[in-house]
Amino acid sequence: MNQALSTTKLVCPQCDLLALPASLRADEVSRCPRCGVELDRGTHASREAALAIAAAAAQLWILMNVFPLVSLSLAGTRRQTTLSGAVVALATHGMPALAVLVFLTAVVVPGAEIALAFYVLGRLQSLARAGALGRLVRWFRTLRRWSMVDVFMLGCLVSIVKLAHLADLVVGPALWACAALLPVLAFLGLYVRPQKLFAGSNGG
């Protein structure tokens, strides 16, 4: 595990080229010399900063799911919906499969991603010793592929614009929390990566 950087080689995940890893300063990016895929990204971040970010992400996720997204006033009636309420509405209006997909990509997977990041960051050293770290980081990557909070945000914006012409709309706390969650999740992904975590767990 504790090999000197100069003897460790990297295999490019997208073109199989052997390369030597570089130690990066923050804001530097290393790319495969043949196919250009990003191999590593430098960051100032510490494990403590990442934990704080994960905590922020957890709070924002809770806000996003508990509070209403938007409230609509039309013909004297006011209606508002939470994220889960919207999922239930889809299910009861004849599209349970779609409801499950939305629920997974907008609620469950982001929540799992945050919880897993928390767990990994909190128990980094003991996980590394037990050899369980790699598996969990791999899970994190899989979760990230299906986490669609950013697309959800934009989808909400589109429907808000569509409705704004017809009715009175008020953006709810959940949507603001969703917007705030986007950069937070982006940062989390920057730190919860094999390159960063394995270096961190060796050096502390």
């Binding site: 997208q14 073109c15 199989d16 080229l17 043949r34 196919c35 250009g36 895929v37 997204l69 938007v70 609509l72 039309l74 013909a75 009636t77 209606r79 508002q80 919906t81 309420g85 919207a86 999922v87 509405a89 889809l90 209006h93 004849g94 599209m95 499969a97 779609l98 997909l101 939305v102 990509t105 907008a106 050899g131 770290l133 790699g134 598996r135 980081v137 791999r138 592929r145 669609m148 697309v151 959800f152 934009l154 989808g155 909400c156 914006l157 589109v158 429907s159 808000i160 614009v161 569509k162 409705l163 012409h165 094999p194 394995f198």
Partner: protein
């Protein structure tokens, strides 16, 4: 064989990558037509009732003055899935033929496909919110249409297709004669 660090199964190349990707792409291509032809949304009010496809939704946005958003939805919902299908088809075909042409461009194309795929879910989330909000019985209501299910399936299939393609296959032709 599995990785000693993360327990992932290690393959020289992802098994049957081209077959799986082709299957997903073909299925997505077939469903692309009903996804765009069938209505994704059925909205009704006291006076009028209408079915909306993805394209008519775009037209509505443009006509009501939000043409940037209309353009965005058009791009994300109509163009992106189509381009993904075509791009992945091209990638599979050129890799199967062990083509040595434009490998870097193809690698970049793959990365674009990978990155951009999830944004096609845009319309699905938009419909979700509309259905949930506009629920005033006969005064105004929005219901999801069969096109939405077809469209969601197309998006999921293209996401699976992009994931099942092993980009290292692009470069295999380069290493073969070295």
């Amino acid at each position: 064989m599995s990785c000693p660090r993360c327990a992932a199964v290690v393959y020289v190349r992802a098994p049957r990558s081209l077959e799986k990707t082709s299957a997903y792409v073909a299925a997505a291509a077939i469903l692309y037509i009903p996804a765009n032809v069938l209505p994704v949304m059925h909205s009704s009010s006291l006076l009028v009732s209408q079915d909306d496809t993805i394209l008519s939704g775009v037209v509505y946005l443009v006509r009501s003055g939000s043409w940037p958003l209309g353009l965005l939805v058009f791009f994300a919902s109509v163009m992106v899935p189509l381009l993904k299908i075509l791009a992945l088809g091209l990638l599979v075909w050129t890799s199967a033929r062990r083509s040595r042409a434009h490998m870097l461009a193809r690698a970049r194309l793959y990365r674009v496909v990978e990155f951009i795929g999830r944004w096609s879910m845009l319309d699905i989330f938009a419909v979700t919110l509309l259905v949930a909000l506009v629920r005033m019985g006969r005064v105004a209501s929005v219901l999801p249409g069969p096109g939405a299910l077809a469209f969601a399936t197309v998006v999921v299939l293209t996401l699976l297709a992009a994931h099942s393609f092993d980009p290292r296959l692009i470069w295999d032709a380069a290493d073969a004669n070295d």
